[in-house]
């Protein structure tokens, strides 16, 4: 082999050797490009924010509060602008569905499970109106409760490190594989002065399983349908369980009962201890929340609870959430 050929081969090999960082850059860029195809800009009267293509049939998911009282909703995908029809929203998750008459859409790939803390969070939205803006961070916590515009939202993902800016509401949060793991909802900042000088330090997103649940129900029924007991439950401490003679992990305290709710009609009261729901012992409160939410038609159910340490069994009726 001639010297020139050897030099050329060496140069070629050197050019092919990429650092880990370069490989990472390429992979992230590829994922971001894919995500950008599924992110849209929503214009609801004067408000501008983000949304995500949910299905090729033209269903787009976004934040519900941004659409409140909007007279006209427009969805921009690249240069094209579509007038959208608002289907409905789930007030409990804050997810809304709008429909546009468009073809060739590329929906996001939805991750069926709730992600874990530490998951990489890739965020693509419309920061300050700039389409396809990308930022990255980490899922810093799951199952958070937040209060936004006087309404409580539960089971939220907490994101840290990503720059979530005005216009990013309804943006996509994806994991490193590019799967949708959350829909940007809101942001928190410690500075009450707010508007002039503070940047959000924590952002919150609706987790993918609840987004999928709300969107599927709205698309299937044309409006939101979910079950409702009308009570707030609190996990028991082990010391209380021990003194009540309950097995570890069993039972939940009733912290609040909504007026005229199915729970109130069944006679459930604050400080009762719910021990069984139907034939199942109450252990996993998240599973119970799903079970109640999945109810599609009013359904009778037997509740077993301790009232002043006396076991009671009543017939309750899970009704449909009035979405107030």
């Amino acid at each position: 082999m001639s010297l020139a050929a050897l030099a050329a081969l060496t140069l070629t090999l050197a050019a092919q050797e990429e650092s880990t960082l370069q490989k990472l850059e390429k992979e992230v860029s590829a994922v971001v490009e894919k995500l950008r195809c599924s992110v849209v800009r929503i214009q609801a009267d004067q408000l501008s924010f983000s949304g995500v293509i949910y299905s090729p049939e033209g269903y787009v998911i976004t934040d519900a509060s941004g659409l409140d009282h909007a007279r006209e909703i427009k969805v921009s995908i690249g240069e094209k602008v579509y007038v959208a029809e608002r289907l409905d929203a789930d007030r409990r998750t804050g997810v809304a569905v709008v429909k546009i008459a468009a073809t060739g859409l590329k929906p996001a790939s939805i991750c069926p499970d709730t992600c874990r803390p530490g998951t990489t969070a890739l965020l693509v939205g419309n920061s300050l109106g700039l389409p396809g803006s990308f930022s990255s961070g980490t899922i810093g916590g799951i199952g958070r409760s937040i209060l936004v515009r006087g309404r409580k939202y539960e089971n939220m993902l907490q994101m840290t490190g990503a720059d979530v800016l005005p216009g990013d509401c309804g943006a996509i949060v994806a994991d490193a594989a590019g799967h949708f793991i959350g829909l940007v909802h809101s942001a928190a900042t410690p500075d009450p002065g707010g508007e002039e000088k503070s940047s959000p330090v924590l952002a919150f997103a609706v987790p993918a399983p609840w987004v999928k649940f709300s969107a599927d129900r709205i698309i299937k029924n044309g409006h939101m349908v979910r079950g409702w007991l009308g009570a707030s439950l609190l996990p028991l401490t082990e010391s209380v369980r021990t003194q009540l003679g309950l097995e570890p992990g069993v039972g939940a305290e009733v912290a609040r009962v909504d007026r005229d709710s199915p729970a109130a009609k069944a006679g459930l009261a604050t400080r009762d201890i719910l021990v069984a729901f139907g034939d199942e012992i109450v252990r996993d409160l998240e599973a119970l929340q799903w079970k109640i939410a999945r109810v599609e038609t009013p359904t009778p159910i037997k509740l077993s609870f301790l009232h002043n340490r006396e076991l009671r069994q009543v017939e309750a009726r899970i009704e449909l959430d009035p979405q107030k």
Partner: protein, 175 residues
């Protein structure tokens, strides 16, 4: 209702001894105030532990006596159901607020006169803002910086991102 007033009511609320209007005020406040929500949780736990004593060694009626005494201890001289407008402190406060309002109006009227004088130059004094306040006072919507006349970012609309008002401390979830 502020934190101090609500804290007086938390024990009553946890014990189920509060009146409807007190209960409503507590529920609204703990929804937006993490500190009071935490305190309520502690009362609830204490209450739950106390409840276990009811069939224990204490003589009958002990438990009820403990909780019945809470209102008397918290509000020794205050009639529980007197309408708020009869409270003399509130009447004095209303008169004081009218006075302050007149003062503020007079102050701004005077400032306008001074500003109109072309020979006068005023320099804004630094404003000292107290330490961060409750998140509940945050604005509902974050809007981008828009300083009229300032060089730099020019935006063509209102970009939406709701602001979290509070991070409720309680672990209860709605079903």
């Amino acid at each position: 209702m502020g934190c101090d007033e609500v804290r007086d009511l938390l024990a009553l609320y946890a014990g189920g001894e509060s009146y409807d209007h007190e209960r409503a005020a507590v529920e609204i406040h703990v929804g937006v105030c993490a500190a009071c929500a935490r305190e309520l949780d502690q009362y609830r736990e204490a209450r739950a532990n106390l409840a276990l004593l009811r069939e224990g060694d204490a003589p009958p009626g002990t438990f009820k006596t403990i909780w019945a005494g809470v209102r008397a201890e918290r509000f020794p001289a205050r009639p529980a159901r007197s309408p708020a407008w009869l409270d003399p402190a509130l009447r004095y406060a209303a008169v004081a607020m009218v006075g302050v309002a007149i003062g503020v109006v007079a102050h701004f009227a005077q400032r306008k006169t001074v500003a109109a004088d072309p020979g006068y130059a005023t320099v804004a004094a630094p404003v000292l803002i107290p330490a961060p306040v409750q998140p509940a006072t945050m604005p509902h919507v974050i809007v981008p910086h828009r300083k009229p006349g300032a060089a730099g970012l020019e935006l063509d609309g209102t970009y939406y991102l709701p602001r979290v008002e509070s991070l409720p401390a309680g672990r209860e979830k709605d079903y």
